[in-house]
Symmetry: C2
Subunit: 220 residues, 2 copies
C-alpha cells in the first residue's frame, strides 16, 4: 500500500476553513439571534475581508447548511430494534430537542429546511425503521414521524430559554384584568414556565407518543 502523499504546498497555508467559519457563525447566532449573523460581521470576527468567506461558501444559505450540521454533533442515532419502541422514541426525540434547545436562533432560521446531510438522513431512516417495525403501516409510520418532528422543532422554535424573558411574559400576563381573563391570569406562572424547559417538552412528547400507540391499525 502506498502512503498517501502529503501535498507539499508552496504558498502560505489558508487562513480559513469551512469548519472554522461555521463555528464562528454559530457563535454569532447563539449570542445575538437570527439577525446577528451577517457576512460582514462574521468576516470582521474572523479578522478577514468579507469576500474571503465566499471562497468557502457560495452563498449565505450554504453557510447556514454547514452551521446546522455543526450545531447538532451529539444527537444519538435511533436503534430500530429497541425492545420498547415508545421508550426509544421518547429517548431520541428528547435528545434531539436538547440539541436544538441550545440554538434557538438557528432553529427559527432554518425551520423550513428539510434535512439532507448523510447523518440527518441516517437518523430519519432509523426513526422510520423503528416505526414501521413497531406495528405501524407505512402511512401511519410516516404520519407519526411527521407529527413527532413537527412537535419537536415547533417546541424548540417557540422555546424561550432566557429565564428573564419568561419572567417578563409572566408579568405581562399577570397584569391583565382578572375579570376578563381569569384563566390566563390564574395560570400566568405556568404559561410562562411552559415556554421554556425540557420537562415541558417531554410532557407533550409523552402524550403524543401515547396517542400514536393507541390509534393504531384502525381501518380509517
Amino acid at each position: 500500500m502506498q502512503r498517501a502523499e502529503t501535498p507539499q504546498r508552496r504558498g502560505p497555508r489558508p487562513m480559513l476553513s469551512r469548519d472554522e467559519i461555521a463555528a464562528a457563525a454559530l457563535d454569532l447566532i447563539d449570542e445575538g439571534g437570527v439577525d446577528a449573523l451577517s457576512m460582514r460581521v462574521l468576516a470582521a470576527q474572523l479578522g478577514v475581508a468579507t469576500m474571503a468567506i465566499y471562497r468557502y461558501f457560495a452563498t449565505k444559505d450554504e453557510l447556514l447548511d454547514a452551521v446546522t450540521e455543526a450545531a447538532l454533533p451529539g444527537v444519538t442515532m435511533p436503534r430500530p430494534h429497541a425492545p420498547d419502541w415508545q421508550k426509544e422514541l421518547g429517548r431520541i426525540f428528547t435528545d434531539l430537542y436538547r440539541a436544538l434547545e441550545r440554538h434557538p436562533g438557528l432553529v427559527r432560521m432554518r425551520l423550513e429546511a428539510v434535512p439532507k446531510t448523510p447523518r440527518a438522513l441516517a437518523w430519519t431512516e432509523g426513526v422510520l425503521s423503528l416505526l414501521t417495525s413497531a406495528l405501524f403501516s407505512r402511512e401511519e409510520a410516516v404520519g407519526a414521524y411527521r407529527s413527532l418532528y413537527t412537535y419537536t422543532f415547533g417546541f424548540a422554535a417557540f422555546a424561550t430559554a432566557d429565564a428573564r424573558a419568561r419572567a417578563n411574559v409572566r408579568k405581562r400576563l399577570s397584569a391583565l384584568p382578572r375579570e376578563t381573563y381569569p384563566e390566563i391570569v390564574g395560570s400566568a406562572p405556568e404559561l410562562a414556565r411552559t415556554l421554556g424547559t425540557a420537562p415541558q417538552f417531554e410532557f407533550g412528547l409523552r402524550r403524543l407518543i401515547a396517542g400514536l400507540a393507541i390509534t393504531q391499525p384502525t381501518t380509517t
Copy 2:
C-alpha cells in the same frame, strides 16, 4: 343626548389607513414570502413615499402585529362548555390551522410572538377554560394548551403548501440510494405528502388529543 360632532376637517383626507396598509403588507407576504415585504416595496405598492407608512406604524414590527391580526379574522372561538371536549379541541385547533395555512410566510416570521390582541387573549382564555373544566389540573391544562399550540404552529411553519415544491421533495428523496436508505426511498411519496395537507395535520392532532386524554391525573 347630544349628537356627536362629525369633525369638519379642512385639508384633504388621508391617503392611507392602518387597515389598508396591513392588508397590502399581507398580500406581499402571501405572494413572495418572508423577504418580499419591505417598507420601500410596500410604499411603492400603495403609491406613496416610504416614510408615509411611518405616520401609521412606528416600526416594521408594529406593522407586523397589525398584519397578524388581519390574517386571522375568521378563527372560531372555543366553547368552554362543549359536551365533548376532545371533539371541541379538534374543532378549534383545526380551525386555527386552516387559517395559519393560508399565510405560511407570516407564521414563519412571527413564530416567537406571544399573542396579545384582545381576540387572541379571549381565544386562549376559552381554550384554558375548556381544558380546566375537562378534568385537568391547572398544570395539565396549561401543559396541554402549550402542546397543542406548539404542534399547530409548528405544522403551519413547516407546511409546504405548494404542490410543486412537494413534488421536488419527493423527487429528491426518491433519488437517494435505495440500499442505504430503504425506508426513506420507500416512503418518499408519503414523506412529501405529509409536508402539506390539512388531513396530515389532523392525523397528529387527533393522536395528541387522545394522548392528553389518557394520561390524566396521574400522580407524578
